[in-house]
């Protein structure tokens, strides 16, 4: 295994270091996991395109020595669609956050899943809008206090990985930033699948979502308070399992995060089917032309 400094030298833009991320942020870890996955798979740097929208996680492509495109809020997957469709040889990776993906960009996400566009979407879900100061996001668990839910959040959160599965994604996994090996393996798996793969990584925002005393305590929570994905948790609407919603409002109750590989199936990608469509259209053209 290559050392961090070797990987850094090869894959990161040194002139942009240090990153803009706050101390304790999970984005650096996700960058690390992604780079390790790419290096393990020996994907040439010229073949990579990193696409992102708006938010802290969307600033990641700037730091990588590869083609990158930091687009508009929520639209990263739509940009990625155009890039991948017209050049299927590229490995297209989208970095997004929960606000970018699940609020303003949810439709683009689900539609790309439905089309089975061959891209890998890495969603760093810190359950808040970190960049703008910690507002309520569509994945903020019920009962949380944020700057826009001062009297505790009364909206139920999205379970993004389950949504992706329901829409037809061929590979879905959820881990936390504390699960390094699992995350790296899932990113590798996602990159090797032909079709839409979704890796959701529960992360922290120690600056704007101060649930824990310090990042260490947060990581400990990630390691200790998880529940492996199984049929028993199939009905959960959020990324976390709560025994009693009332407790979310009355006590400082954080629930358990559902982790694991959520789905791993095979079906033809958009590109496979487009290839067939092209053949059909050509057949029809020359047949009509011959008449």
């Amino acid at each position: 295994m290559k050392s961090s400094s070797e990987l850094r030298k090869k894959y990161l833009r040194e002139d942009l270091m240090p990153t803009m991320f706050c101390p304790g942020c999970g984005n650096g870890q996700v960058l690390n996991y992604t780079i390790r996955a790419i290096d393990d798979l020996n994907i040439p740097q010229e073949k990579l395109v990193f696409v992102s929208g708006i938010g802290c996680s969307s600033r990641l492509p700037a730091y990588i020595e590869a083609d990158g495109i930091h687009t508009t809020h929520g639209r990263a997957i739509a940009f990625a669609t155009g890039i991948k469709v017209t050049n299927p040889d590229l490995k297209v990776i989208v970095f997004t956050g929960d606000g970018d993906l699940a609020a303003i960009g949810l439709n683009h996400f689900l539609q790309a899943v439905r089309r089975n566009i061959d891209i890998t979407v890495i969603c760093i879900n810190n359950e808040t809008y970190g960049m703008t100061g910690g507002q309520l996001s569509p994945t903020t668990p019920v009962g949380y206090t944020t700057t826009t839910s001062l009297y505790k959040n009364i909206e139920f959160a999205f379970n993004l990985s389950f949504l992706a599965k329901a829409a037809g994604a061929i590979y879905v996994a959820r881990w936390t930033t504390a699960h390094s090996t699992q995350t790296i393996n899932s990113i590798k798996k996602g990159l090797q699948k032909r079709g839409f793969s979704f890796i959701e990584i529960i992360s922290m925002c120690p600056v704007n979502k101060k649930q824990f005393k310090d990042p260490t305590e947060n990581l400990r929570f990630f390691l200790d308070n998880t529940i492996k994905y199984s049929k028993k948790v199939l009905d959960e609407t959020s990324a976390r399992v709560f025994n009693d919603y009332n407790e979310c409002f009355t006590a400082d109750y954080t629930g358990k995060i559902i982790i694991g590989e959520i789905t791993d199936i095979d079906k033809p990608s958009f590109h496979d089917l487009y290839h067939n469509l092209k053949e059909r259209s050509l057949n029809e053209f020359w047949n009509t032309k011959g008449e």
């Binding site: 010229e46 495109i69 155009g82 053209f285």
Partner: protein, 398 residues
């Protein structure tokens, strides 16, 4: 199976087709090989025909997206694979595209957007022609930026200006808006389809510098213009793009006023320096005329009929048709304003280009207007009456 050439598909000959078909043929002849769109009246046929033809062409792709926002996003992304890309829409969709038009301006991404205008605001009258998006085309997205907008007035010109739109987009690395309207879109006229060898294709400024010295927003190396060289995704030049203010290395610079000013002023300069290349217009009978009727698009056709009729009746009247709407031909308007008594601006909105004419006439002559909304093309008779009568004065739309 072998992909046919564009000539094998279009079979160059005289045809009797609609304006929307002519836009598709123009795009295909201009080597547009990626289209992303969303159905909307009166632009839908463009998406339908692209879906028919692009899969047959080598490296051709077409996708129906979930909305107009993602349609423009997809073609901007694909443009970075060195594709000529296009989308088509109408007012409501054009409103949704404004966000990513700003992004295309900021990242200097070539792309073509056809806006087949219909009556607005909002859903308005979907099947009725209008010219209500003239100002939205120029200023629809936030912040200082520049775009190019062209407005053909016939089916044949739809074809040629679509080709021109792609050339200008690539040459100046800017989104180009092809304005049309429901009337031309659905009018059937004679169209002479050219062979592809008759088409001039102007390429993007290529990267000629070595990788170590390459920076995505460097200008003046390959060509002495203010248009940066453009690489593509998947090549050895690893490019980062952002909608944030960026320096010539493409690195975000969100605090520095000087870098922001340099960048945004260059968006203006790269167009302003080349106004002569970009601006085209049609002028008839303008020498020694007292009155000049100005129009564009479908209404310019009735305007010309009225002008010619008026001249047979002895009126001293000329005709100016704007073909490039943005950048605006202000020098032409200013020069004419010194020679004449009155401009009459004929348009299918309540006065948009009218204000530009007033601005650049600088009080040298009267500026009158004839407006028609709700899909009615101004009749030659109403324009003729306007030529005969005194200037309208009402303050509501001033």
């Amino acid at each position: 199976m072998k992909a046919p050439s564009i000539d094998e598909i279009l079979e160059p000959k005289l045809q009797f087709v609609t304006g929307n078909e002519a836009i598709v043929y123009g795009a295909l002849l201009a080597n547009c090989r990626f289209f992303a769109g969303y159905p909307i009246t009166p632009a839908t046929e463009i998406l339908e025909l692209m879906m028919k033809y692009l899969p047959i062409l080598e490296d051709g792709y077409c996708i129906q997206m979930e909305d107009e926002i993602s349609s423009l996003a997809a073609i901007i992304g694909a443009s970075w694979n060195n594709y000529r890309t296009m989308t088509a829409t109408s007012g409501p969709g054009f409103s949704l595209m404004q966000e990513n038009i700003g992004y295309a301006c900021m990242t200097e991404t070539p792309c073509v957007i056809a806006d087949i205008q219909r009556s607005g605001p909002s859903t308005g009258q979907p099947t009725k022609a209008a010219q209500g998006d003239i100002m939205q085309a120029r200023w629809g997205t936030h912040g200082d930026h520049y775009i190019i907008a062209l407005y053909p007035n016939s089916v044949q010109e739809n074809l040629w200006l679509t080709i021109r739109a792609f050339n200008l987009a690539d040459k100046y690395r800017v989104p180009v808006i092809l304005l049309s309207d429901a009337a031309i879109a659905h009018t059937r006229e004679r169209l002479k389809i050219p062979f592809q060898k008759e088409i001039d294709i102007i390429k993007r400024v290529p990267v000629t510098i070595d990788k170590e010295n390459y920076h995505p927003f460097r200008t003046g190396y390959t060509l002495p213009t203010k248009v940066p060289e453009m690489d593509k995704f998947g090549d050895k030049y690893l490019t980062y793009l952002t909608g944030l203010t960026h320096d010539w290395k493409a690195y975000p610079s969100t605090e520095n006023a000087e870098i922001h000013e340099q960048l945004v002023k260059r968006f203006y300069e790269k167009i302003a320096d080349n106004r002569e290349d970009i601006i085209i217009y049609e002028a008839k009978y303008i020498d020694e005329s007292d009155i000049i009727v100005i129009s564009y698009g479908i209404s310019s056709r009735t305007a010309l009929m009225a002008v010619e009729k008026a001249r047979t009746k002895g009126y001293s009247v000329g005709y100016l048709r704007l073909i490039t709407i943005w950048p605006f031909p202000h020098d032409v308007v200013y020069e004419l304003s010194q020679e004449i008594k009155r401009f009459i601006v004929v348009e299918m909105n309540l006065g948009q280009i009218y204000h530009k004419i007033k601005e650049h006439a600088r009080g040298n002559c009267e500026v009158d207007r004839l407006n028609s909304i709700g899909g009615n093309i101004p009749s030659p008779k109403s324009i003729l009456n306007k030529i005969k009568s005194a200037r309208l004065s009402d303050e509501i739309f001033e």
